[in-house]
Structures are given as C-alpha cells and as structure tokens.
C-alpha cells in the first residue's frame, strides 16, 4: 500500500500526525511530509487508512 498527500490541499491540521507520526510525518510548520508516494510497511495498512480518514482537508489518499 502507498499513500500520498496533495500539498495544495494540506492545511497543517496535524491530525494525521496524531494518528501515527511515523507513517504521517510533518514538517517544521506542521504540514504533511508524506510526499507524492510513500510506502506503508506491511501490517500498518489499517493505521494508514485511519490517518488518511482523519484529514479534515481531504488532502491525503491511499494510492490505487
């Protein structure tokens, strides 16, 4: 599984980082540093989905 952030939509709410700061790293200003395609380690899929769903700006998604 891979996840991505659309940086034009990210508003630095920081809610994904609360779910898991390793899967959803933030930069110094609190914006998502997930990038355009980030590998999710095996076993962390459920957490990744939780983090994607936590974004109030809908800036995160699971890549197809």
């Amino acid at each position: 599984m891979r996840i991505a952030v659309d940086s034009s939509l990210c508003e630095a709410h920081g809610q994904c980082g609360v779910v898991d700061y390793e899967l959803f790293p933030l930069d110094d200003d609190g914006f998502s540093a997930v990038g355009p395609s980030r590998e999710v380690p095996d076993g962390d899929e459920a957490t990744a989905e939780l983090g994607v769903a936590s974004c109030p700006a809908r800036a995160l998604r699971v890549l197809p």
Binding site: E11, H13, V18, D29, G30, T47, P56
Partner: protein, 399 residues
C-alpha cells in the same frame, strides 16, 4: 469598544460577540483581557504557524519569581509540559509521547471505554426525575478513562477528579486574595499527586503493562522520558484530557437536544456518529480560546503586534467563520469536509485528539441510544471563563 469574553452575556452566547468581532474588528485589542482577540478562521490558522507567537508561557513567569515559594515545585512541573514549550524542547517531548497516542493503540481501547461509558449511564438511569448529566456522566467519565489508561487501581479514581480540579485552578491562575486560600490547598493536593504519580511510574518501570504509562516509557533512539517528565506527562494528560472531554460530551448533548431534527437523524443513522461528533465539536466545542505570547514584532491584518503582548486565538469563532463554512450557525451532522480547528492546528494540535474523539463518539452514541426520551429540564448556565466553553450543570429528564 472593548470586548470582555468573560462577561455573563458573552459567556451565555459568545457566538453573537464573535460574529460582531469577525465583521467589524477581526484583530481586536481587548483592554479587558489585555490581549489581542483573533477571530477569523484564516488569521487563527496562520497564527498557529507564526513563529512570533510562542507557547513558552510558564517559564518566563517562574524566572521572574525571586525566591522559591511553595508553588515553585508544582509550577516547575507545569513549566515542563509540552503544551507550554516551543521547539526544540517541544519537538522532543512530543515525539516521545506520540507513540502512546497512536491511532491503533487508541482504537483497541474502544471496548474498555464503552464499558466505562455504560457503567456511568447505568448509574444515571438508576436515578429518576431531574438529574445533572454533567456531574453524573460527563464529568466523572474522562477521569475514570484516564485513571484506567494509566493503570491506576480503581479505588484511586476519585482522587484523579480532585487533582484535575486542582490542576485547573493552578494552571489558569487565581488572581485576588479571596482565592489565595483555595490556591494554597490546591498546591498541597498537587504535591500529593506528584508523589502518587512517582509511585505509579516506579511501579510501571519494574512491571510494565499494556497501559499508556508503560507506552510512554518507550525509547526514541537513545532518548527517553525521565521519571519527572513521565510524572509531568501524567498530570498533563489529566489536565488536558478531563475538563475538555467533559465539555465536549456535555456541549454535544445540549446541541442535539436543541436540534431535535439532527438528533432524530443521528438516531436513524447511528453510523453518522463520526462526522456528527466533528460537527458538534465545530458547532460548540470545548475550548473557546488558546493563548500565545508574542516574542517578535509581527502584523496581522494590518495591526502591529509587539513582543510582550498576548494574543487569544478564538477557536470557537474561527469554527463559525462564514468565509470558511457554509451556513456556519447551522448544525449539520453530515457536514463534509469539516476542517474545524477545535483541536488546534499544526505542531501543537491536540495529541489526545483520537482519544477525545473516541470518548465523545462512544458517550454521545450511548446517550442517544440508551436515553430515547432525554429532555432538557432547565436552561443551562455557562461558566464565566475565557478558555473553556463550559456549563455548570446540564439538568435533564429521562422517562
């Protein structure tokens, strides 16, 4: 014009005051608060990442005290809280604490929290006539959850409530000799809490479990939280996680009782609870205002803001800003997207947000399901406080 958000009329209906401020003076110097009130969504959002606004609010106060007082040790504990530090200290504490609050760790606690919620509702339903939903359910519930999460014995849970009140009293300051006596008693109580948490930490160091305190002991590379830092973290969890959650549950219940159409909608579609709680947090969340200290010259919407001044970020106003939310004064449980900032934003965004969401979702869902005839019995009275959106009582009837 100077606005006082702690005046009784403003406490009863702050949203009318916020609307006026947003449209006439969105960056308002309040002589009453000796602070700037920032009320528009975009300005509050920007303020969260403005380096001129600092969270380092306790250490400067401590540094100004010439002699150590009875309060120093307790204030020292508060000064180390990550909510009142800036990077890099904040970054380190936050990283060390983050593992304990991870989504998956919180998710598995759902069953345990449901059992705690149900036992409080059982107690409430055993009573009859008019009862206070806050003192019977919304207030004791989060203290029990926190005590359980820290692995404290059930018999000690009432003490957590007392410490929580004492922490609020000390952290929000007192002002005036009339309350000095209460303040002194609170400090004595908190020294007892300090000893208690140190004993709990010792115990968990020797005998770790699957509780949150054990999780907070995890290493980050070579680094780990010291015993004093763990004690401060326990106290912070109680301070930040108790009253806020009480108010989330109580305000959400009140909003539903006042919007029977939305309450029926939730009853008919219990799966709506996720977005419903987000909307309830936006509509009438637990925190009105977050404070920052100004440490560098900056400008917001043309107003010059100078070092040494304070700014109040009015979350409750930002969440009703029509520039950001369509029909902001309408409660719409299905609102999506819902970029409310009830949990703050950026690096200080509430670390316990997932836990608070889960507690509020379970509590609201169980109240709605188990009290189908719930009715408001009297108009609630709001506390005249700046930071919280808090009722004294929420007196209700159920048949």
């Amino acid at each position: 014009m100077t606005v006082d958000l702690t005046a009784p009329a403003a406490s009863a209906d702050p949203y009318a005051v916020f609307e006026e401020l947003r449209s006439t003076d969105p960056v308002h110097w309040s002589e009453a608060h000796r602070a700037w009130l920032i009320t528009r969504y975009d300005d509050v959002s920007d303020a969260f990442r403005n380096k001129a606004f600092s969270n380092d609010r306790v250490r400067p106060v401590l540094a100004r005290r010439r002699e150590p007082s009875a309060a120093s040790d307790v204030l020292g504990l508060l000064a180390g809280w990550m909510v009142v530090t800036d990077p890099p200290d904040h970054t380190r504490l936050r990283r060390l604490a983050a593992g304990a609050f991870k989504g998956q760790r919180i998710a598995v606690m759902g069953e345990q929290i449901t059992a705690i919620v149900d036992s409080h509702i059982d107690g409430f339903l055993a009573g009859s006539g008019e009862q206070d939903l806050i003192s019977e359910v919304a207030y004791p519930l989060p203290a029990t959850v926190i005590a359980t999460m820290l692995g404290a014995p059930p018999a000690d849970r009432d003490r957590f409530r007392e410490w929580s009140d004492e922490l609020a009293l000390v952290a929000f300051g007192t002002g005036g000799a009339a309350r000095a006596d209460r303040h002194e008693r609170a400090l004595r109580g908190l020294r007892e809490m300090d000893t208690y948490f140190h004993t709990l930490v010792d115990h968990r160091r020797r005998d770790p479990g699957d509780d949150m305190l054990s999780a907070l002991m995890a290493r980050d590379g070579d680094d780990l939280l010291s015993d004093d830092e763990l004690v401060a973290m326990c106290a912070l969890l109680l301070f930040a996680g108790h009253e806020t959650t009480t108010n989330s549950i109580a305000n959400a219940t009140l909003a539903l009782l006042r919007h029977p159409g939305q309450l029926d909608r939730l009853r008919a579609d219990p799966d709506l609870i996720g977005p419903a709680v987000e909307e309830l947090l936006r509509f009438d969340g637990p925190i009105k205002v977050l404070n920052r200290w100004v440490v560098a010259e900056t400008e917001v919407r043309g107003k010059r803001i100078s070092p040494g001044e304070r700014v109040h970020l009015v979350l409750a106003s930002a969440n009703r800003d029509p520039e950001r939310f369509d029909d902001p004064d309408t409660l719409d449980l299905g609102r999506n997207p819902n970029p409310h900032i009830a949990f703050g934003k950026g690096i200080h965004a509430c670390i316990g947000a997932q836990l608070a969401r889960m507690e509020t979702r379970i509590a609201v869902a169980r109240i709605v399901e188990r009290m189908p005839s719930l009715q408001l019995a009297e108009e609630p009275v709001w506390k005249d406080v700046l930071a919280s959106r808090a009722m004294d009582r929420l007196v209700v009837r159920h048949l």
